[in-house]
Symmetry: C2
Subunit: 256 residues, 2 copies
């Protein structure tokens, strides 16, 4: 089935539910998606890693932009959140008023405050939830994430065919090594990797040493700031406290 | 002359002047530098790109840390400013109270406010001054910088032998191409590059098309936010205004 036909059928299913947002990544959404979402009163969001992409998305009619820096887990570009957010905010301002959410590396309240300082209307988080009690992340991978520093991730095409950030492991090392066969184009590389990595997860859980070295999952550089498993509720509570403390630092810096 | 002897002679010269700071990069400063600076009442700062390096520097006795993200111009690591600053602040807190300055991508007041939100005591800037009226940057390179977006820099070993971020050009492309001869170890690669690049600058200024393609200089991703030449005074004034506006956004976000 052509990709657009699959997309329309998935949209049929989605719109039968009381959804609040359609978020789209890796390119401008097809016209029918924007039109049908608007007709249903559902806003459309788009993830972007470069200001040029942000401008294209706004011109295609999206309602919310997510400016995702290179430190993000999953597919990302090369520009960091600190630079990308103000660059995107300034690039879209002359076109139309569109809220920009900051993404990439954000796992704490102080980083959320930083995002607001940069001109974002809010933030978009991912990695911070992967190690919560409620997460469905493979248990051995959670252990690796808790031990990881911010330098233990890598942006590699070896999982999906396009560059995506993930935990560095024997798997990512092999795909980054000179002389590797080269990743297949999307979506074929995922056919190579996903079933194999599910099997790796299962074997790692049983204690297989090779599988433990191979085990990996998408995660951003913010993994370096995450050191223990917590309930999602506690994460949210601590974010709010940390945000307030950061706001106080800024207020104090003005000298009263 | 061994490197330490050269370092001591340079320190002799520096300490004969009323200097306010000694800032050190690329590794822990030699013992004599910390000792003599302390004896002279001059604080010692260190640039770091990873929390492990920050811990080593604090244990070696430095007084100020500069946590420099991968978006920075010049030598840098792989961790972004958004993640590195809180990671370094948390890593050194249990050891000793050391102010941490944020560096990497910071060219506006809103980014300075973001840095304070992240826990930095201040910021350290570089790229933003390269396109001011007062700068001594090669004129043709200034034109390239004003036209550049944040995606027009590259972290390459082809200039000094260690990875440093610079404006992407035919020079950096050649050093990044597969099959390049490989950069020489520091400081030998600079012997290859610096004289040649000074000649390139002179020829680019005279209009040589090949030289214009080769011309490059160190600059961070923040170059994407710089679009015109201004006096340094105006840059500072605008930073203060932009910082205040960002502080107001944060205060407003608390809803009263």
């Amino acid at each position: 089935m052509p990709a657009d036909d699959i997309g329309e059928k998935l949209l049929d299913v989605a719109l039968r539910h009381p959804i609040k947002l359609i978020a789209n990544a890796l390119g401008v959404p097809p016209r029918f998606m924007v039109d049908r979402a608007k007709a249903a009163g559902v806003p459309v969001a788009a993830l972007v890693g470069a200001k040029e992409h942000a401008v294209k998305q706004v011109n295609a009619g999206v309602d919310v932009l997510i400016a995702q820096g290179t430190e993000a887990g999953g597919h990302c570009g090369e520009v960091t959140t600190m630079v990308l957010v103000p660059e995107v905010v300034e690039a879209v301002r002359p076109i139309r008023e569109v809220p920009v959410l900051a993404a990439g590396g954000i796992v704490t309240g102080r980083q959320m405050a930083a995002a607001i300082a940069l001109g974002a209307a809010g933030v978009w988080t991912g990695s911070v939830w992967l190690t919560t009690e409620e997460a469905e992340t493979a248990p051995y991978t959670v252990r690796k994430m808790l031990a990881a520093t911010s330098r233990d991730t890598v942006r590699s095409a070896g999982r999906t065919g396009k560059p995506s950030r993930q935990l560095r492991s024997a798997w990512t090392d092999a795909w980054e090594r000179p002389g590797n066969p080269g990743a297949l184009p999307m979506p074929l590389q995922s056919v190579v990797s996903e079933r194999a990595l599910r099997y790796v997860d299962a074997q790692a859980e049983k204690g297989h040493p090779g599988a433990r070295e191979l085990a990996t999952y998408w995660v951003g550089q913010g993994v370096g700031l995450i050191n223990r498993v917590r309930p999602a509720r506690d994460v949210v509570y601590e974010m709010a406290q940390d945000y307030a403390a950061a706001a106080e630092r800024i207020a104090d810096s003005l000298g009263g």
